[in-house]
């Protein structure tokens, strides 16, 4: 059944948005915005949440940029993570990634699962690499190819061919999951970052050594430890002991406590902490780990799929799956063809003997 006109428009739009040129342009825009923003001081949530530090930061910025401070602030150059200048190209990139995912995900999924349909048209058009002198059944062919398959770490599946034998030769097929992870994880990662930007909050918490709070007590504080960094020991209401210093937060009951300031009045030590709530972090971390895993899978164990067709007249044709076309795919194909001829003791072209 022919697709409806509106379906054709959607398909075409998907192809345009998922095209490498569109993705390159939106990525370049994003890079330019980030590069420009790196020339301006950025207001962090920690500074924004502290009145004194915010006043100092604002004073410095106004002194430096003078009358143009307001314009720069309106453009969002001091808080690029929340600026439309950043979010617009990022949104364009995400739309492109989603379009790519919709356009190519099904094919990549089938590749990863090994259920991709053979490219019959490409196989029919592919140049003849050799001709078998005598007909070979699928099992006999696979056993003849066994040394090559072992050497090249190729997995074989035979498929029903209407005319002759059709073999799929896979290397690291499972690494195709990496492609899916690489392209979906950035979207989740940005959702995590968005949650952080929108819902993370900082709360002040003041502790003293006289134990005014029932849930948490400052057990001890060392202002001049041997390594130069102050440190403190906290005790929860349940009796748990927590260690904290300016660079190592303490965790208790799902809260993250960060060191703020410490002081002493009339023999009583005080410690100001900041409680961090960040609902986006678990998603951000999971997506970032998935992204790294996907990159390793895809780029360290490069998957490839070859299709080998042996016609009923003994002709051998080989193609590399379209999904694995790269700059040196022709060289790959020629090498593989030569290997096949060698293992089957054939000579190139129509003159081969079985």
């Amino acid at each position: 059944m022919a697709p409806r006109p509106d379906q054709r428009v959607i398909t075409r739009l998907g192809r345009v948005l998922g095209h490498p040129t569109y993705l390159s342009v939106s990525l370049s825009l994003l890079i330019v915005v980030m590069a420009v923003s790196s020339l301006f001081p950025q207001l962090t949530p920690e500074t924004a949440g502290d009145a004194y530090h915010l006043a100092v930061w604002l004073g410095r910025v106004e002194l430096r940029y003078g009358a143009s401070t307001e314009t720069l602030a309106d453009l969002g150059l001091f808080r690029i993570g929340r600026s439309p200048l950043f979010w617009v190209p990022l949104a364009l990139l995400i739309i492109g990634l989603l379009a790519w995912a919709l356009h190519r995900l099904a094919a990549t999924w089938r590749l990863a699962r090994g259920s991709r349909r053979p490219p019959i048209e490409s196989l029919l058009r592919a140049p003849l690499i050799a001709r078998l002198g005598e007909p070979l059944g699928t099992d006999a062919l696979i056993s003849r190819l066994a040394p090559l398959l072992r050497r090249e770490r190729l997995r074989t599946d035979s498929l029903d061919g209407s005319d002759g034998t059709l073999l799929r030769l896979d290397r690291h097929r499972w690494a195709n999951w990496g492609t899916i992870l690489c392209h979906l994880a950035p979207i989740l990662l940005l959702v995590g970052a968005l949650l952080t930007a929108m819902y993370s909050r900082l709360e002040p918490l003041e502790l003293s050594s006289d134990g005014a709070r029932p849930d948490l007590r400052l057990a001890s504080i060392d202002m001049a430890a041997d390594d130069g960094a102050p440190s403190a020991v906290l005790q929860t209401a349940r009796g748990d002991i927590l260690h904290i210093d300016p660079y190592h937060p303490a965790r208790t009951e799902g809260r993250r406590l960060h060191w703020g300031e410490s002081w002493q009045i009339e023999g009583v030590h005080y410690l100001a902490l900041t409680v961090h709530h960040d609902p986006g972090w678990p998603l951000f971390l999971s997506a970032a780990v998935a992204l790294c895993l996907g990159l390793f899978l895809r780029l360290y164990w490069r998957p490839s799929t070859y299709w080998l067709r042996v016609g009923s007249d003994g002709t051998l044709r080989l193609v590399l799956d379209d999904a694995f076309r790269h700059s040196h795919h022709q060289a790959d194909l020629e090498r593989m063809s030569a290997e096949l001829r060698a293992v089957l003791s054939l000579v190139p072209g129509d003159e081969g003997k079985g």
């Binding site: 990525l27 590069a35 001081p41 962090t44 660079y247 790269h326 700059s327 040196h328 060289a331």
Partner: protein
Amino acid sequence: MIPWPLAIALIAAWLMSIVHAATRRRPLAWMACGLCWIVVLAALLLMVARGIESGHWPLGTRQEFMLAYLILLLLATCMLAARWREHRATSWILPIALGLAVSLALSPEEASAVRPLPPALRSPLLQAHVLTILLADTLLTVAGGLALVQIVRPAPGDGCPWLPPDDETETRMARLVSLGVPWLAVGILLGAIWARDAWGSYWSWDPKETWALITLLWYQMPLHLRVLPRRRRRRVAWLVLVGMLLVLFTLVGVPQVAGALSLGSLHGY
């Protein structure tokens, strides 16, 4: 930070590799590699001595990072030449190592002094972050050297006797980018996890962070644009070369720019 004789040895190695590329005399290639190995061993001894003197892992300052970068870069260059059995590319990668060695030799005493490690940097997570970034930078720099080979090639093909074969150079350049990019991503992630503990948030839009992310994003282009006809493949080489310049700018240029603009980078180096 490193004595001048080592920088001079690298200059000699570079000149030998140039003469080898022009004349194809193999002993010159072996001598160039031998000199590189001598520099690697001497630099390793320097690093170990600094580690013993300071009492901490010797990657706490920019100078120490650059010394480690130099060692890995030379190691990668020698290993690439040995595995490839092709030494003509060495003359295009060595100038980068030479630049590092000269800048280390010229660095003032004060910058090279052994310092105690600040408390914020005493974290295994940070060590892993620095090591992964170091590994990524090395692989991507060598890829940049091979990109330079592809760019200076007069025409596609193997017609140029002083350059390594076209297809092999391109395959290796693409492979090195593929090997380097995942480590760069892991390095940035480890840095974010560490920063969340040490600074309270995993992303602060610090200039160094921003440029590391720009570099990672940039490399997505050569990774995705490999499917190009032969006549347009030089574009990929340009992208890889610019990627290498971004790596070097993030390492050396960003702290200078952040200092000049008083941006107050949170990164020590």
